[in-house]
Subunit: 376 residues, 2 copies
């Protein structure tokens, strides 16, 4: 379990929303002393009540580390303030866009509001986790467990800041990855911001759909649009702050969409259209195949190592548990599980992913135990 005192002093969290709150919970669970403050006194009080940290006292001990957990548009100002207020502290921000914060600090240095020593104590960070719900009330101790924590030093960051933030990342169970601000911003444009934009575009298009259309919605629409439920106030700041890195990705998407719409116009009403238009449409889908195949990990659909076994599960307490317990008895480990509810029927379908080598063993053994397993 966590080492007591892995930090040379208290950590101060400035901004106790979902991310700041979860960092406080995780750091306290790891044995750190956590001081909290938020621009809103009510939010500060709620965070303290929820166990995120304790109030800052007058004449309080100086923090060894300040974590600024604020939206990207205000992070630089808050970091500058903390660098000046705590001359002995490393100050990191954990906003989800990094260049805009670093640029804001370098501008303040150029304008004489910060000096080189202060700038050297700044480091960027981005623990890559989130939820569709926001605010400290949604904070979770385990939010960052197993997730990447991007560490973003600039050219003049002191080495002690890098090792301290990496230590924090490891202590809260996340996986530190070093990137420059530009590398980070280009990466999140692809894996986080563009998905948010396309999900929102798809969700917004549903506003014009007939009611009956929505009754036909399946898992494809639900998955593709899930993150469209995110907080507009937060996302306007994120997308705006990462405009430079995000724009080329969105322009790529627009170019492909333009080309698709053009191809569909050619194909429409032409019973025997040119091969070129069809090829354009097929290329989009094929490029999509190739792109998602690049996503690593168990959930990637590009991998062939896992097989899905589909089992009918009565929709009653304990039935899914019984299934998975029996899978354990059979000795087959579950790689992934997706539950699919049947509209108006007293059963669900459990899509159980297992190592391909275990597929037929599992299917046979489950059928012997009386489960209904879909044919492969």
């Amino acid at each position: 379990m966590p080492a007591e005192g892995f930090l040379p002093g208290p950590v101060r969290i400035v901004g106790t929303g979902l991310i700041g709150g979860s960092l406080g919970l995780a750091l306290r669970a790891a044995g750190a002393e956590v001081q909290v403050s938020d621009i809103s006194p009510g939010t500060t009080a709620l965070a303290i009540e929820l166990g995120v940290g304790r109030a800052i006292r007058e004449d309080d001990e100086e923090p060894a580390l300040v974590l600024v957990a604020a939206p990207p548009d205000v992070a630089a100002a808050l970091v500058a303030e903390q660098l000046r207020a705590h001359p002995g502290a490393i100050v990191a921000d954990v906003a989800s866009v990094k260049s805009v914060v670093l640029d804001g600090l370098l501008r303040r240095e150029a304008e004489g509001q910060l000096d080189a020593e202060q700038i050297s104590r700044y480091i960027g960070g981005h623990p890559m986790a989130g939820r569709e719900t926001s605010g400290v009330i949604a904070a979770q101790t385990d939010l960052f467990r197993g997730r990447p924590f991007v560490i973003v030093p600039h050219e003049r960051t002191v080495p002690a800041a890098v090792s301290l933030l990496r230590r924090v990342a490891v202590e809260i169970g996340s996986l530190p990855v070093n990137l420059s601000a530009a590398e980070h911003d280009a990466a999140v444009a692809h894996v986080s911001h563009a998905p948010q934009v396309v999900a929102s575009l798809l969700g917004a298009a549903l506003l014009d759909a007939q009611g009956i259309a929505l009754d036909l919605a399946g898992q494809g629409l639900r998955d593709t649009s899930r993150i469209a439920a995110s907080d507009p106030r937060l996302w306007v700041e994120i997308l705006s702050a990462n405009a430079r890195a995000l724009t080329p990705v969105l322009e790529d998407i627009r170019g492909r969409l333009d080309s698709l719409i053009g191809s569909l116009a050619t194909l429409q009403g032409d019973p025997d259209p040119a091969v070129g238009s069809r090829r354009e449409v097929a290329r989009l889908i094929a490029d999509g195949n190739a792109g998602v195949a690049r996503i690593p990990g168990k959930h990637g659909s590009g991998t062939d190592s896992f097989a899905a076994v589909v089992v009918l599960v009565p929709d009653a307490p304990g039935e899914l548990g019984r299934l998975l317990t029996e899978m354990g008895q059979i000795g087959v480990n579950l790689e992934d599980l997706r539950l699919e509810h049947s509209l108006g029927q007293p059963v669900g379908l459990a899509h159980v992913a297992v190592a391909r080598a275990h597929e037929s063993l599992l299917t046979t053994a489950l059928r012997e135990r009386g489960w209904t397993v879909a044919d492969a």
Copy 2:
């Protein structure tokens, strides 16, 4: 269990891919006699071997129902052929686009290749299910269970065809919904084809991402791009066939994307930009919120009736089963479950959705039993 002989004669399935194959399996499970044929003799043989149906014999009994399960671009020709070949049969196609098939048949009638009696025996259908994998090898008896089955009569379809196809839908466990061809095509443009396009656009944009970016991929990207793994050959036909209904939806998406790119250009490099640009970005996200909130069902994030409880589960056989068994003992029913794997860590997170009223009971009871439950 299924009534024997709910059809007045054999059902013939023309085209034994994923959908035709699954229809055959489901109809046989429901007690129907199923004859199969596919343009590929190899596929026909494989379908027979997999239990989809039996080979057609010379002097075989005439089918009461023919189900044409072919891509939309060839469905009309096959339906016309079957209407002529089987004067006593109802002929339905189950392609995922309906106007193009009906138009193709009406054109053949206008050209004298079909007569009014033949046309009256045609009805469209669309059992709304699919998988990312295609072909008869992926066919499943339960593919349509609990899914909508859209019944698409035209103005002159005989009433017997409607009742017969509805009966088929019910017998295979799906939920019949009557729509016109235009209504159907507009609905699937929103709930099926536009999601495919945006997922493919997002997936294709990943081709330009740095490798490190993909290592940062989280559940948001995975969900949003999942269906981008679909079959290009099938989807070029579907998108082309539904160009008329799909184009306005894609133009709506393009309009919003243009506006977003324009707003980001204004915001970029302007530390204190006009309020209007920010508002445009926020409106896209807010409209996305409102659109996804229209999606009904347990999985909709717009509903407040369910709460997510997050539990740490050791990544070992039987552990998730033990969790769910104990939930059953506690007496709480599972509404949804999502498993989240931690990179390089021996634990997973089970996101368990339960009725909001049971959330605190469940959290307390699980903690008493020694489970680690994330703070709400």
